[in-house]
Symmetry: C2
Subunit: 427 residues, 2 copies
């Protein structure tokens, strides 16, 4: 079988499975999920054995220790996967929710109702836990999944999916076995093949670094929901509470710099820069944050700080659009809120941006004009997260404007359709 035939068969099976998933009740889906969770726990030895095989191959491939750590499973991580699936079982069913309801003058009743997407392809990097997370969320949302993890995790991913499908089939004899499938090859050419199959695949969600996401988006003919990167900003306005500004900046940068909702750039209004920059510096220096500053900020930092503990240097143009995932922060002095908004809308990634101010009018202007998925007034960017937003489990964060925007939970994993109920109406 050629790769094209193999991917077509996979996608076609997924489509057929997705049709059967539309017929399942919430009770049936939750019973399957709970069985999957129990099976993940009890199959821990088999999963660990598959993972050990992956780790052996991976260390032979010369993977970094960070990569190996992400790949490695243990009893605790496996228990975490099972708990994650149980949590999904406990969440409300996102399918069948009434979004709108209207009766037309001719008596036609229209109901806008959430419905499953169909077939979702998830492309991700090495952590095998994503297999269980993504498959369980999509299953609860009534969709079939095709999972493509890192090539170094193939044995782990296949074992996890296999355990889940076998467990569900025991609880529900007509469980469609192709509802959860792992792409059975590590051939990179499989991805463009799969993502050209617009008749069978409804959505692709890539999760990983910007390179992976750009490569997927470039080759895909099916819709892709994604964020490329998180270049998040904190704008400290002239009317900001200085102490609050310091806490938010330090938290947004330092609490977990490796994630997409960490801040990369601090914008400070020129009216307070002279006092705010020296005030925020100690908190950043305590985390060894390197500062990359525009000329004005550099001037203030150099004149006001004696013997700075961290690197402070001039920012270069690409810095303003870089997601560092590290203890590095750009600093720029802006001339009021319009300048701040223009900088964010030009250089930002449309992810999460903050204004710190006591002025409600300015805050509302910022909320309205900053073109990002999440816009904050007086809080840290770090809250852009499905759990923090109260969505339960999260499948990802979108900076797209078509479909879901911001954190994506179960409710963002469905489409809708119109049920039109008549009594013989014709036009």
């Amino acid at each position: 079988m050629s790769l094209t035939e193999q991917m077509t068969a996979l996608a076609k099976q997924a489509k057929i499975a997705s049709r059967q998933l539309t017929t399942l009740t919430r009770q049936q889906k939750d019973a399957c999920l709970l069985a999957m969770a129990d099976a993940i726990n009890s199959a821990a030895p088999a999963i660990l054995a598959a993972n050990a095989a992956d780790l052996k191959i991976a260390s032979g491939m010369g993977l970094s220790s960070a990569m190996l750590e992400r790949l490695e499973l243990n009893e605790k991580k496996i228990a975490g996967m099972a708990d994650g699936i149980r949590e999904v079982a406990g969440l409300p069913d996102p399918v069948g929710k009434l979004l709108d309801d209207r009766v037309r003058p001719n008596g036609l009743k229209l109901r806008k109702i959430t419905a499953p997407l169909g077939v979702v392809v998830i492309i991700y990097e090495s952590r095998p836990n994503v297999t269980a997370d993504a498959a369980s969320l999509c299953f609860k949302a009534g969709s079939a999944t095709i999972l493509r993890g890192g090539k170094e995790a193939l044995n782990s991913n296949r074992m996890i999916a296999d355990v889940m499908v076998r467990a569900a089939s025991k609880v529900l004899p007509n469980f469609p076995e192709h509802a959860i499938q792992v792409v059975p090859t590590t051939d990179r050419a499989a991805i463009p093949e799969l993502l050209s199959l617009t008749s069978y695949i409804d959505l692709c969600m890539p999760r990983g670094g910007e390179g992976l996401i750009r490569a997927v988006t470039e080759c895909s003919k099916v819709p892709v929901i994604k964020h490329y990167k998180g270049v998040c900003h904190v704008y400290v306005d002239g009317a900001a509470d200085e102490k609050m500004g310091v806490e938010i900046v330090v938290n947004a940068k330092c609490q977990r710099p490796s994630v997409c909702n960490a801040a990369e750039t601090l914008l400070v209004d020129k009216s307070i820069a002279g006092t705010f920059l020296p005030a925020v510096y100690p908190g950043l220096a305590a985390h060894n944050v390197e500062l990359r500053a525009d000329a004005s900020a550099l001037g203030i930092l150099q004149s006001k700080l004696n013997n700075p503990q961290t690197t402070i240097r001039a920012a270069c143009e690409p810095d303003w659009e870089t997601e560092y995932n590290d203890y590095i922060l750009n600093v720029k002095i802006v001339d009021g809120i319009n300048d701040a908004i223009a900088h964010i809308n030009t250089h930002g990634s449309g992810h999460s941006d903050v204004i710190v101010t006591a002025d409600e009018t300015l805050a509302n202007k910022f909320l309205q004009e900053v073109d990002s998925a999440a816009v904050y007034w007086n809080a840290s960017t770090r809250f852009t997260d499905g759990g923090e937003f109260g969505m339960g489990a999260e499948i990802g964060i979108s900076t797209d404007k078509i479909g879901a925007r911001g954190p994506m939970g179960l409710d963002e994993l469905v489409t809708y359709k119109w049920h039109c109920l008549g009594a013989g109406q014709v036009r």
Copy 2:
């Protein structure tokens, strides 16, 4: 300036304009729209002159009389355009609607609020009225538009857009003049250039025949919302009211066969085919509908009808997936509802499909399992339309599952963002 530079400049200007549009109030937008409508009326002579120039070139190009008729404007069509714009002014503002509202345990207030998309590209065929319709809807939704009509309508389209922009600029001195732009060239290469500019363009909506839409979708790097075609079905179930079934089938096929929500295929349950096909035939024959039937249906039609008035022939495989836009109907006998649903989900276009039945359980099964934008129980497919759905003006119909699905009015022309209001919360 190269074509790439020209399209980049156009898109960049649109993006800047779109930023300014986010600051407009409903009152400002409506005042602009009303001024645009008045100006369209009073500029009728200039618009007709531009249209006459287009018509002269077009008749030299040997366009069909149907195409020339679509291109031709007159006083009545111009008044219709103006009325359409006034109607848009009267519709509620789709921007700033609260979709969700939650307070997290840490006191963070989250508000999910509709927001403008940004820059929308509309690609359409010859009718110049689309220029006014699409531009006014997008403007009301807070987005800038880049319009690309048929090459034969360039003068008309430019004049209409120009009249609208000049009128709005008089009412609102800071009206961004690039909020409504017509692509100033007929070069086909402009489309892929434009649709590669993902930093500036948020959405493309192609409107026209399947060929146009496929070509646009193929070349686009920006999200596209569209429907390729409407292959709509009426399934007459064994428990159908025969008279209602006849009325719905004849209406869905014959009331306006040229549109996407007209039916192309009649599916009849085998238990009633022997009586239903002869019953429905006269209504279809009265409109000279050609029937393309599967073997069983052909057998029934040939045995029960004496001297049929219309062509009745065997359907071939591609017929089941063809949008005829004409008085032609496929007819197939199915073995119950599962067979009907499988046929629709395999051969349909996910647009509009009907079950005619008195059995509520079967109807609910059909509503749940048919994977289409609009699924009907006992009504004609012809209601899938923004006006009929009570949306006011319609910009198009989507069979996509990401973003809007089904008829698209103003509410479907926006995205959302999260406003996150804190009091200094950090993680």
